[in-house]
Structures are given as C-alpha cells and as structure tokens.
C-alpha cells in the first residue's frame, strides 16, 4: 500500500511531481499509477496534469480512472494540480467539455479583450511564469508559506468557482482568478508546486503532513484546534 499515489492518466510530466514529493519525503513510498486499486489503497492522492481538458477527460474514461478519482476525492488527502484542479469542476470552455463535477464551478479561458495591465501593456496568454498567490483562507497547506509568495503558473484557462467559500487563494492577471481551492480533504492549485522551487516544496511537504482537515491547526485567540 503506497503512502502517496500520483494518478497517471497519460497527461504530461508526472515524473516532476513524483520527484518533488520524493525530495520532501524520502522515507515515503510514492508511486505513479494508473491502477484504480493502487489509487484506492493509497494514503494520499495527487491528481496532476498538463495539457487540454477534453484529452484529460477522455484519458480518464478510457483508462477506467474516472471513478477512482471521484472516490479518492471523497475521503483522503487529495491534491489537484493545474489541469488536475480544473478537471474537478463541472465544465470547461476548453473544447466545451464536461468535468468531473466534484466541485461547483466552471473553467474559462482568459478573455483576450481583458488582457491589458494598468499601464496599457498587453498581457500574454498562456499566463506563464511566477505570480503572487494571495491566501484568502487559512489552511494547513499554506503553513510556512508567506502571503503573496510567488508560484510558477502555466495555463490559458482558469477556474470560476461556483461557491466563493471554495477559494483558498487568488492571483491577479489582470483580474483576480482562482489560484487555489479547498473543501474538506481536497486542496487544489492552478500553479505548479513541483516547479515552484523552495516555496513549492514547502507546500508539498505540507501535503505530506496534512490530515485532510480543512481547518488550520494554528492556535487561534481562544483555543488550539
């Protein structure tokens, strides 16, 4: 039984995710797997992905992994990354495809007419590079990560959450878009922690330690949770 399963559905570079996890948790058994049984038995699950949404959904179906992702997202500490975050929602403008519908909301393309900064300079799409992530909710996954820390992004589509309470972090490009969402045992990010140097490794180390509870284990004014 693996400590962490990285779901392999044939999309993108999964090696970088597993290498970064091995780097922060060399003592753990980390597997890259497309076997629903391995995913079901793993202690934690990472749902990564780069590429296009229609291909993602097609690959999940054809490999019989759709249900495995849905089940994993119900129970255990679950980290979605990039396309692995977008796929959790109901639908995407990319190829007009349906998502897994685990979380309410939709995935939209950065609108060409809005891509201008305050100085009138054109903003490029894809949004590629290091941008600031603003933490809009307390969460154990943010532990040790400063407000407005920079993470590495590469994407042309973003999540519009159907429930504002889902949003755990946002980024400006040029408007505020969803950079992280959290609900119960699910945490999902638009950026790539595995490619975000020390800050990203801190987040992956937080995931390895996370008990899957949405509350922060920080001592508040009255009581230690």
């Amino acid at each position: 039984m693996a400590d962490i399963a990285v779901i392999d559905y044939g999309m993108g570079n999964l090696r970088s995710v597993s290498k970064a996890l091995e780097h922060v948790a060399p003592q753990l058994d980390i597997v890259v797997s497309s076997d629903p049984d391995v995913i079901a038995k793993a202690g934690r699950v990472v749902f990564p992905g780069v590429g296009a949404m229609p291909d993602c959904m097609h690959e999940l179906e054809s490999r019989g992994l759709r249900q495995a992702v849905i089940e994993a997202a119900k129970a255990k500490p679950f980290l979605g990354i990039c396309l692995g975050m977008q796929a959790l929602f109901e639908s995407s403008e990319e190829g007009d495809s349906a998502g897994l519908g685990i979380l309410p909301g939709r995935v939209l393309r950065f609108p060409a007419e809005a891509m201008v900064d305050e100085k009138g300079q054109k903003l490029k799409v894809p949004h590629i590079g290091w941008n600031e992530v603003h933490q809009s909710a307390d969460h154990p996954m943010w532990s040790g990560i400063p407000e407005a820390a920079r993470f590495y992004f590469v994407h042309s589509y973003y999540v519009e959450a159907g429930d504002p309470d889902l949003v755990a972090g946002f980024t400006l490009y040029p408007f505020a878009f969803t950079a992280a969402v959290a609900r119960d045992n699910i945490f999902a990010v638009q950026f790539h922690p595995e490619k975000s140097q020390a800050t990203g490794l801190t987040m992956l180390a937080n995931f390895v330690m996370w008990d899957g509870q949405a509350r922060s284990n920080i001592c508040g004014a009255d009581v230690c949770l």
């Binding site: 090696r15 780069v50 490029k124 894809p126 949004h127 290091w130 941008n131």
Partner: protein, 257 residues
C-alpha cells in the same frame, strides 16, 4: 504586483559539457551542466534552458541523462531544445524531466510537427525557437528572416510572420534569438524583439547578445520581452542571476526576488 519578468540562464551542452561560442562558432568550455544548473537555481533563476548543440545523433542520449539528473535536484521549469525532429523526440525529453521542449529547424522543415506536438502534449510545453537576422539594408523598412542550421541557412521567411504562424499552430512560447547578436555582448536586437512580441499573444523570450545587465532591462522595457535569456554573462562569473534580478528591480521591472 503581478506576473514577474523571467530571467532564464541558457546552457549550451555538447558531449556532456556546457560550452559557449560567438556567433555559433568558437566554443569555450564553461563547466559541468548539473553543477551549473544547481548554481543558477540557488541564485534564483526562474527557469533553465538547455540547448543540445551536439552535431552527431549518437550522442543525443547524453542530454537525456543530464536532464534526468537535473530534474532530480532542481525544482524549477526546464526547457530543452536542439535537434528535436519528431513527436517521439519531444516525448523522450518530457519523460526525462523536461517541462518544455524547444523546436527550431524542424519547425521550418516540418511545421506540422509543432501542431502535432502541441496537440499531443499541450501548447504549454512547446516552445518554438526562432533564429532571426536582419536582412534589410540601412534606410529600408526593417525586415528579419528566419535562419536555420545554426544560423547558416536563410529560409527567406519573415520572422514576424513566422512567429504568428507558429502561435497559430500551437506554440505556447517563442524563444527569439537575434542570431547576428549571439555571443557578441552588444545587447538584444530590440527592434526585432519588440516587433515579434507585439505581434503575438504568447510570451516571447528574448535571446542573443546580452553583455551587461542594462541589456536585460532594455529587452523587457524596449523590446517588450516577457522573459530574457542569457548565457555567457552568468557562465563566467561576471554576474550572478540574483544581481541581474536586483538590477531589473532597481529599474522598476517586476521580478521574483
């Protein structure tokens, strides 16, 4: 505050060593690629680019081992280019740990490769590298052509139009080298950089000719580049990546410090 402009050290690799030439010839050894990659990562490089400049195909596997080793230790985006001719070449590099793959000559000889690779692996990992050189004479309207084969062959293609075509085929980024500047240390070709960057909606990485830190500032401010790439100013210890970023920040360019 928003998206930072990126500084990308470039490592030209042959026979397992980092080298640097002037105008694509006259190579000088700069050290071990893994050691250099780690140093730039520690200095705060935003990404790393590796160009395999090996001539013979039987030495191609060397770059795969280097990328594997770097990807085990360095957790920032890695781009690898040089000699990429097929979707299978792209796959091999991605599997070795590259996040993006640069396609140069093959984009000209077989543009469909860009479309195929983008649709298979996503635009975000396909960087089309364009080597461009000014062909207009003084006083004429500016015109740049795309050159291939390490800058030896004029394709006759207009570099600005070519960049737009590559974007439409699925390139996620353009790596633009002013090849008459490469290794010269006199700065980017700013007219070329601005013309291409303003013509496309994908990010443009400026390359070729950086000799001092003001050149990096100019590339962003005057050339409208989204990222700047440099090799020799970092390889031989003239400047660290951090110094470059601090200089850009002093010039009011947003960087990741």
């Amino acid at each position: 505050m928003g998206l930072a402009k990126r500084i990308i050290p470039c490592l030209d690799v042959t026979a397992g060593r980092v080298v640097k030439g002037v105008n694509f010839v006259g190579l000088r050894d700069a050290g071990d690629p893994i050691e250099i990659a780690r140093r730039y990562d520690e200095q705060g490089a935003d990404e790393l680019t590796f160009l395999d400049i090996t001539a013979s195909s039987d030495e191609r596997d060397i770059i795969l081992h280097i990328i594997e080793e770097v990807a085990n230790q360095v957790f920032i985006p890695l781009t690898v280019g040089g000699g990429v001719r097929s979707v299978d070449d792209v796959r091999r590099l991605l599997n070795a740990g590259a996040d993006k793959v640069g396609i140069n000559t093959a984009a000209v000889t077989n543009p469909q490769l860009v479309a195929d690779a983008a649709s298979r692996f996503g635009s975000q990992c396909i960087v089309v590298a364009i080597d461009a050189k000014q062909v207009s004479a003084e006083g004429e309207p500016l015109l740049w052509h795309v050159f291939t084969h390490g800058g030896r062959k004029d394709t006759g293609l207009d570099a600005v139009e070519w960049a737009k075509k590559m974007e439409s085929l699925g390139a996620g980024e353009i790596l633009l080298t002013s090849m008459d500047r490469d290794g010269t240390k006199i700065g980017f070709n700013l007219d070329l950089t601005r013309a291409v960057s303003d013509a496309v909606s994908v990010p443009v990485i400026a390359s070729g000719g950086v000799g001092n830190l003001d050149h990096l500032v100019d590339g962003v401010k005057k050339g409208h580049a989204d990222a700047v790439l440099a090799a020799s100013i970092f390889h031989y210890g003239e400047f660290t990546v951090r110094q470059a970023k601090e200089h850009m920040a002093r010039n009011l360019i947003e960087v990741r410090l």
